[in-house]
Symmetry: C2
Amino acid sequence: MKLFDEHNFIQQLSIDCVIFGYKEKELKVLISKVKVELDIYTLPGGFIKQEESIDEAAKRILEERTGLKDIFLEQYRVFGEPFRINHEIFENINSLKKEWLEQGVLDENDIKWLSKRFVSIGYYALVDINKVSPQKGLFDESVDWYNVKELPSMIMDHNKMVQFALETLRLFLDQKLIGFNLLPETFTIREVQELYEAVYDKPFARNNFQKKILDLDVLERLEKKFTGAANKAPYLYRFRN
Amino acid sequence: MKLFDEHNFIQQLSIDCVIFGYKEKELKVLISKVKVELDIYTLPGGFIKQEESIDEAAKRILEERTGLKDIFLEQYRVFGEPFRINHEIFENINSLKKEWLEQGVLDENDIKWLSKRFVSIGYYALVDINKVSPQKGLFDESVDWYNVKELPSMIMDHNKMVQFALETLRLFLDQKLIGFNLLPETFTIREVQELYEAVYDKPFARNNFQKKILDLDVLERLEKKFTGAANKAPYLYRFRN
């Protein structure tokens, strides 16, 4: 089955997405396992259709994997080394391609397409993890959230892509207040602090942090969180767009 | 003459460079005029060879235009709208392609190559303008420095590319202290302030600015600048890497 050709897609150019979620005090990344017994892991990715913009392509790829539209999504870096393959996984990929060819999943042209050098545009996305039910891509056997500190070894330079995305997230977390995209609709200040601690991988002093966040004047205070012990319950907040 | 094909270059992917220089209190950008009587202006750009990294390609393109190696150069954004052509210049480009075809500068395959949609990786470079003697590219009739505030209307989305590059420069000027790449080897604090004023397009208070720059602790104080009036002469400084 012919999937790829240059009439439909731009050759040698791909998009890979680092999808960040946050749960149980851990920053997580959505990762596909392509073929269970071969240990081939990848970031969700895809190609750019001739008639769509790169942003539209990234949105399409993300919607396929997360079911979500309108999520925070930005390009952050292009990965363009001529040899982005990591060799320990290379043999596994080649045997997988051969298998797909034999099974008719791909045809000779697809193999030729996939075997060329690719320049990849890295996008990172921030999602409310509770809203996502991860969807398998065409070639995935499973897709799961991994703690950013305990990622499997992925194909190509995908581990490096996550590191650069994390650096970008750290750079803009304060500057552009993008972190609230990772939280549910309402949250306590303590939960914001835990998110910041997960992203920067270091503790913050509680009083300073609370003051700093409230001084930003971007949060709206709501009712107290229901905990059963009313007088000690913290307030809930919402991000005011 | 066949110049472009997919065995040598990656199709539909280009690099465009915003080369910033600084002179006479003005931030300037290096721009090519392709064909004098047609008013076609472009940023210096080119394609990526199959065997080179995108950074190597950008370095090669910059060296061709500036004669400089080892200059400050970074990717900053990908421009990937499906229709990046601006229509007022489109007709001029098409008549120019036809002329080159008739003159044998390009062949039919080159025209086909150039007529496809391109995704372009934007790089920005900071150079000491005194070290550059601008070199014409293959298709240029002239190449010159323009004040960033008085740019001609360029092909495609090249004016937008300059705006994004300028925003990136402003973002990182403080954060990464990259501005010294635009100055000669030695300079006065006043000259640094004038550079900052040109980049941000606004005045800075002299005393505050001097304190802020010196507090960074990245400058080495040298002898006084020779002005003829020894007691009022300002000190020269050098950036300590």
